[in-house]
Subunit: 202 residues, 2 copies
Amino acid sequence: MRSKDPALMNKIIDFIDEYYAKNFIIPTMQTIGDSLNISKACVSNYIAEMKEKGLIENNRGWYGIRTKNISKINNNAMLIPVVGTIACGTPLLAEENIEEYLPIPKSFIGNGEYFILKANGNSMIKAGIEDGDLVIVRQQESAEQGQIVVALIDDEATLKRYYLDNKKKQVRLHPENDDMQDIYFKKIVIQGVAVKIIKDLL
Amino acid sequence: MRSKDPALMNKIIDFIDEYYAKNFIIPTMQTIGDSLNISKACVSNYIAEMKEKGLIENNRGWYGIRTKNISKINNNAMLIPVVGTIACGTPLLAEENIEEYLPIPKSFIGNGEYFILKANGNSMIKAGIEDGDLVIVRQQESAEQGQIVVALIDDEATLKRYYLDNKKKQVRLHPENDDMQDIYFKKIVIQGVAVKIIKDLL
DNA sequence: TTCTATCGTGAACAAAAGTTTATGATAAGA
DNA sequence: TCTTATCATAAACTTTTGTTCACGATAGAA
């Protein structure tokens, strides 16, 4: 007796997963067949069998095939603006300061508005933030002790650790770099709080 | 004169976005119409007009409608599998090891295949990689001196710095943690090279 | 108020996708 | 080697989807 090729089953599942990862659409039977050099009728047979075995789910009559992996997909992404160097006198998120938009998983971020700051300089090196790193920032005007905040100092968006001294009624911004000094302000406008960092390793 | 309801346009776009986020597939005109209490012919008309205005793209004859939002995300992201703890004896990217898929900007990754490793343990703490951090890994079987690699040691995916001693013909895997010892291998199978890391700051 | 352009609808139509079926090929068992 | 079960294919078929069309309703202008 012959039996349906298990390797082909895996190929089909892998193809669907890969195709979806690239195109964000489920391929048609025709497309699957063409890519694996089998007929779409054969694909249909295989998929019917895989449905019985629970390898594939079907939540809609058409186009509804889902591999187990597709059910694990978290495709809730949001486009977040990346801010690099700031043009003089412009607000942080002015159009001319936005370099690009990057898709970021919604699970990375909660509610609220976000932007990504491309770190420049080495003022936060001890906190692991190096020049060129991308810092995901939640827009807010207040912060808690010790959080890393984005503040506009001399028309430049800088990352510093935030401390509020209630007695002296002043704000201390602390660079995580032994060569740099703390800066004190009576009042400072906070742009947001750093929530995540994306670093290059190579 | 009457004009097409701009509010309805936004409703349609919002519905498509929400439906897609939940179901991973684009809704049909019928589904859109039913949900918004309009006929599918009307939906078809609206979508045709929105295509002209560039609010919606169509990269495939059927099912191909994409809002700008979806389109941008699709064009700029790829779904990458996240691997957490590894089931005994299974290959790294076996289905049971994949926790989820996350959309990652295409600009983060070049050619080749990638996966995301959820770091566990503190063996790379001095390189800034802490427990729970997400490490984007390019699949490859070789590495250069000093790169951070993923290797399977005792059926666990571990991150270590890679050094090859050509004279002694052995591989040294170096944990970036003063409490841990280097490990030496005659031969080791490398799963990939770490290219980026995503860390929580809060 | 009346007229007119056009918007939304339901039905018919066309296009595309999935399923079934008849057929030939072929691997496994006798 | 011969037989048989069943696998893969192509074509016909069914279902679903998107588009077009004729018609009634209605907002805006005169």
